[in-house]
Amino acid sequence: MNIENKLLKLSSLEGLVLKLNQDGKQVFAPVKKDNIVNFAPVSAFHEMTQDYIVTARSAKFVVFPRVETILEMQFSKDNITLKDKDLSSIPDAVLLGTRPCDAAGFKVLTSIFEGDYIDNIYVTRLKKTTIISISCNNYDAKCFCTSVNVHPGGTAGSDILLTRIDNDNFLAEIVTEKGKEIVNKFDTLFDIAPDVNKDSLVANVPVEFDLSAILGKIYPRFESDIWVEQSLRCIGCGTCAYVCPTCGCFDIQDVSDGHNGQRKRSWDSCGFDLFTLHSSGHNPRNTQSKRWRQRILHKFVYVPEQDNILGCVGCGRCSRACSVDMNLKEHLINLIGELTK
């Protein structure tokens, strides 16, 4: 559909959050708590913070929770009954305040969870979630979205994209039918859009590197020493994957008390050495450098080749969360240096 522009007043956002909540949708918005900004359920707009570049953790948990029961089981002495996930129990949600990079991240996740085998749980969750992003008017040193073809005012992945025009007004771009539904439902809150130059309203995130210098060029350097060099500092925790908006790797575990049980899917990280450990004890990715390589290659080689979409949206969360300063942007620039040698 064609993108439709509307005007949304800041004051209307208060009403919008209230109405969305009344409508039975759970609204998630960035909330500042203990000095960290993260998405959390809000019942009123003022609970949402305005002071953030991006949230610490990505918004992916709304469609890809860190733990998700995928089916349930019941045991009797001689029988086992499996109970399918009740998709209708998945609540409607609204993500308010995602950044364009976050929204773009959902595209990557979707490319993983769809494909030949469609993960209905993810798909349903995403279908039931309306993403109302807000364009960036600021950025920090860890941001590099523009370098990976994501724009601080990009609409990809969002249902509605808000861009701040001035203190009181947002430009609302209605990107999808889902967004349209919201607008139709609460049309009193939206006004006719003024004619503005959106590009001048969003942050001018500098392009730090040439993506084309990377794309299609890393794989031949699979055995390069650079992976060891870059990852020496890495301590192998899973933080980067857990905060990343595009990381979709997961683990499946059963939990049972002998009478009832659940099969649960939970986040996993390719940074852990157990991730690929065979039961025989053999481990194809037995060192941190191999795991680091996997991470980079997954984002910049495998996902692009398989799903025709770049696996990184340049939000810089991994670099911010890393306790040992594994700065992805810096590493990519460094990698380009190596590739062009």
């Binding site: 995928i70 089916l71 089981m73 045991f75 001689d78 029988n79 086992i80 499996l82 399918d84 996930k85 998709l87 993983i112 969870f113 494909g115 030949d116 085998y117 469609i118 993960d119 209905n120 749980i121 794989y219 699979f222 055995e223 979709g248 790797c249 997961f250 683990d251 499946i252 575990q253 059963d254 049972s256 002998g258 049980g261 099969r263 899917r265 996993d268 390719c270 991730f275 690929t276 450990l277 065979h278 039961s279 025989s280 053999h282 194809p284 990715r285 191999k290 996997q294 290659l297 997954h298 080689v301 495998y302 080749e305 398989q306």
Partner: protein
């Protein structure tokens, strides 16, 4: 495939349990749901996710031939939580199964060729499926040679079938155990599989080699085969990486660009050569 939930296993009832070797068992499984039972097909080389429900899922190949209808078989070794839980199951117990997943051996392409199967240890099950499949279509193929080795005599699996193959005149079976582990009654070869292969291998002429075994065996077998004149596209193997989902989502079984679960597990040596050493 279940349209609703790709993670939902079929329930299967264990028909028989057979002890193959210490800690190795074979289950014969039958779908409880008649409809699925009738509908279910697979090709040799494919695998599935077997679940000890309440404990978790584990990945093994389907070890029986697709020519056998009404049931599938799987063979596994007790190593972890799930396999231990499976080992505690017995006849009439219910387990879960998802699958079949992955690609398969192109046995129709091997028509009128000699077949050389090389397996080591617990890696015989995937080849067993192919072997029986090919033996059921025996007339399509020429010489069939099976080289199978294990660390010890005790650890050789499918002992009963090894005997059957040994007794068949249209199959040449060579079994071997690691030096020093032979028993006084042992009549087979003594030595590592690549070495024995070097000794007994048939001509590479018009021959397809199908290799399956632990990474170390594979590593030493490929050069021997190449030395014997096998071209890399005539060498097949099946890989096994750690998997959780079975369909390319959980993100751990990839070898470079390819997912073992979706693009594998069957690869030719030629394909493998193009892949990084991540298996």
């Amino acid at each position: 495939m279940n349209e609703q939930n790709i993670y939902m296993p079929y329930l299967m009832r264990i028909e028989t349990v057979r002890d193959e070797a210490p800690f190795v068992k074979t289950f014969r499984l039958k779908f409880i749901n008649e409809e699925i039972l009738n509908r279910f097909t697979f090709k040799t080389g494919q695998f599935g996710e077997y679940s000890a429900i309440g404990e978790g899922e584990s990945t093994f190949c389907i070890a029986s031939s697709p020519t056998l209808k009404g049931y599938i078989e799987c063979t596994f070794r007790q190593t972890g939580k799930v396999t231990n839980a499976l080992a505690m199951k017995g006849e009439d117990d219910v387990i879960g199964f998802r699958g079949p997943y992955g690609n398969f051996f192109p046995i129709h392409e091997w028509k009128n060729k000699n077949l050389l199967f090389i397996a080591g240890g617990i890696a015989l099950p995937p080849l067993r499926s192919v072997i029986w499949n090919c033996l059921d279509l025996r007339n399509d193929y020429k010489d069939v040679t099976i080289i199978y080795g294990a660390k010890t005599v005790d650890e050789l699996i499918y002992k009963h079938e090894l005997k059957t193959w040994d007794e068949r005149s249209d199959v040449k079976l060579v079994t071997t155990v690691d030096p020093g582990n032979e028993t006084p009654e042992w009549k087979g070869k003594i030595g590592f599989v690549p070495t024995v292969l070097d000794e007994v291998a048939p001509s590479s002429e018009n021959t397809v080699a199908i290799v399956c075994g632990p990474p170390i065996m594979i590593k030493y077998t490929f050069p021997v085969l190449e030395k014997l004149g096998f071209t890399s596209e005539n060498i097949f193997t099946t890989l096994e990486n750690r998997m959780k989902c079975g369909f390319g989502k959980c993100g751990r079984c990839n070898v470079g660009k390819v997912f073992v679960c979706k693009d594998g597990p069957v690869f030719t040596y030629k394909q493998l050569k193009e892949l990084p050493q991540e298996y």
